[in-house]
Amino acid sequence: MMDALVPILVATLAAGTPLVFAALGELVVEKSGVLNLGVEGMMLCGAIAGFAATVASGSIWIGVLAGMAAGAATALVFAVLTLTLQANQVAAGLALSIFGVGLSAFVGKPFESVALPSPQAFGIPGLADIPLLGPVLFAQQPLVYLSWVLFGLVSWFLYRTRPGLVLRAVGESPTSANAIGYPVIGIRYLATLFGGAMAGVGGAYLSVIYTPMWVESMTAGRGWIALALVVFATWRPGRVLVGAYLFGGVTIAQFFAQGAGAAIASQLLSSLPYLATIVVLVLISRNPTVIRLNAPVSLGKSYHPDG
């Protein structure tokens, strides 16, 4: 039983990691009151930029940095449109997603069917030898560890630091934050760029480490799932993490069920991860008071200092 469990859990963490990056990034964006629906597009731009940079440089880390930069650059377009030019956030975000799909497909044409070597997992000395937990938690790709660091940082920043408090205040009531002297637009710019950078890392993880290959639209809806995770997890980092691994876990478990010979229609199994993740998150987060407490009040509303 243990032997069968280890590969499932290892693969679960690996499959959930891009969602952890993208969803935690989006969580920070939404906490500042900005709704960026362009996660899918930003992930794809990160994926192709990361892949191209890795092919050119031979270094995964340069690839991940390139993905981060590409995600942030895409987010900058969104920020200029919605924060400076006051465009509608929903419309601009949807446009960004569609734009990202097209742009990455165009740029990625020469990289179709180029293959990269699979990167080696990095075992943390000492910890990787613990039975069951060792191979699952401590013999993963370095980016998986970094996603946990990101989780710790985001939780700490939002709830334990003064800048985090300011960011949340901007998301609750930009008018009040502005009245006491905080640069609302500047803070929202930073949050949006951070969200884009994290979506870019999530995309680069997929193309450089997970597959490792570039395919048009390879994120396959993960950007949308990341968005849904943030809402259904009621804007709380811990639940985002649970949701991301749940999604990864069900994705992997359905393959194991098939390999073990379960006679369930594979089409139904393929839809299970989406269904299970949303149902579980809705169930654990169904308290309306908690939702009201955590949802940023001014989410998706444009703000202009002059009223």
């Binding site: 590969p7 179709e112 597959t211 395919v215 393959f255 194991f256 010979g261 006679a263």
Partner: protein, 360 residues
């Protein structure tokens, strides 16, 4: 003045048209290909494009070929095929199963254009079909897998449960069991022809469930790469995928369309092209095995070579009776081989495949 000017222009246009008309008569034969995925450097579309390049080389400036890649099956396909037919292509090859209905529909509107659709079953006055007996290559791959597997378990990453894919799984299983009677095949369906992420996850799952030789009926090289990473064997499909797994890649079951394309183009140039109804295999050179890995010992190579020669000579049929399905029901009695019409509607696993076929 004004009227006179127009008259002259019209006259000039008519003369120009006449000139163009006579020029068309000497222009090369325009041939178009519609591809479902990017050409890339391995896979289903790549093999068709090798065929296209072969006819370009053979016929030189007598023909002009064009291809449109990455055309989704469905409404987009119809638009692309219609455009190709309308822009003067006289021979159009549509190379994916899902192009069947769009091809038939467009063909009715362009009776003078000759269409050839790959892997379909609908034909018309100007629409032919061509396909290969991929299962013959699968049987040979099964022999290699049966000889090279230590665990006796092979993993199969499959796309959709349609007859063509089931023929492959079943032929592979029968090939494997012909040399390793206890051999088992585990199947994972990924519900996509081309999705490296899912193909890789499926391959990793199969390896962790004990498979030490992987076979695939999907387009990407992800399963071969996964096998290389985990130190097990894999057998490629469509193309020689050895550069993606120098140690893992034992051989590959590949297709070669160049002979068929050359024949169609030759007929079209001679003005006697007829819609075809071709289902060729090893004998016709449409199915070929890629070079074997150095890890495959000589006795296995000889065994495969003999089976290949026997299939070509008609002495060996991958579905020679008795063929029993999983429930033990006899599908083909001893002494007979499965007829083509029965192959074409295969919807079950034979003995030796693990698990049950998902119900539709």
């Amino acid at each position: 003045m004004f009227k006179k000017g127009w008259g002259a222009t019209l006259l000039g246009a008519a003369a120009a048209l006449a000139l163009v008309g006579s020029a068309i008569a000497q222009q090369p034969l325009k041939i178009a290909f519609v591809y479902v995925s990017p050409v890339g450097d391995a896979g289903w579309t790549y093999q068709h494009d090798l065929g296209r390049k072969a006819i370009e080389k053979q016929f030189g400036n007598k023909i002009a070929t064009k291809y449109v890649e990455n055309v989704p099956e469905g409404a987009d396909a119809e638009r692309v095929i219609r455009e190709l037919a309308a822009s003067g292509h006289t021979l159009v090859f549509t190379t994916s199963f899902g192009y069947m209905n769009p091809t038939i529909k467009v063909a009715k509107a362009f009776p003078k254009v000759h269409f050839e659709h790959s892997t379909g079953y609908k034909r018309d006055k100007n629409v032919g079909t061509y396909n290969a007996r991929f299962y013959e290559g699968r049987y040979l791959a099964g022999i290699v897998a049966g000889k090279m597997s230590k665990s006796g378990v092979a993993g199969y990453v499959a796309a959709f449960p349609i007859p063509e894919v089931l023929q492959g799984i079943n032929a592979f299983t029968r090939g494997m069991q012909s040399v390793s009677p206890k051999g088992q095949v585990r199947v994972i369906w990924v519900n996509s022809w081309y999705d490296p992420g899912r193909e890789r996850e499926a391959a990793m799952t199969l390896i962790s469930q004990g498979a030490d030789v992987l076979m695939q009926h999907t387009d990407s090289t992800a399963p071969v790469q996964a096998a290389e990473e985990k130190g097990v064997y894999a057998i490629g499909y469509h193309s020689d995928m050895s550069k993606y797994g120098p140690k893992a890649h034992l051989t590959a079951s590949t297709h070669d369309w160049s002979g068929f394309y050359a024949k169609m183009v030759g007929d079209a140039l001679a003005g006697k092209a007829q819609p075809s109804n071709v289902w060729g295999g090893i004998k016709e050179g449409m199915v070929k095995m890629a070079p074997m890995n150095a890890a495959v010992p000589k006795d296995v190579r000889d065994m495969v070579a003999k089976a290949e020669a026997d299939i070509a000579a008609g002495k060996l049929h991958p579905f020679a009776g008795p063929v029993k399905d999983q429930s033990g029901k006899e599908r083909v009695p001893a002494g007979k081989s499965m007829p083509d019409d029965q192959l074409a509607v295969m919807d079950y696993y034979v003995e030796g495949v693990q698990g049950q076929l998902p119900k539709k």
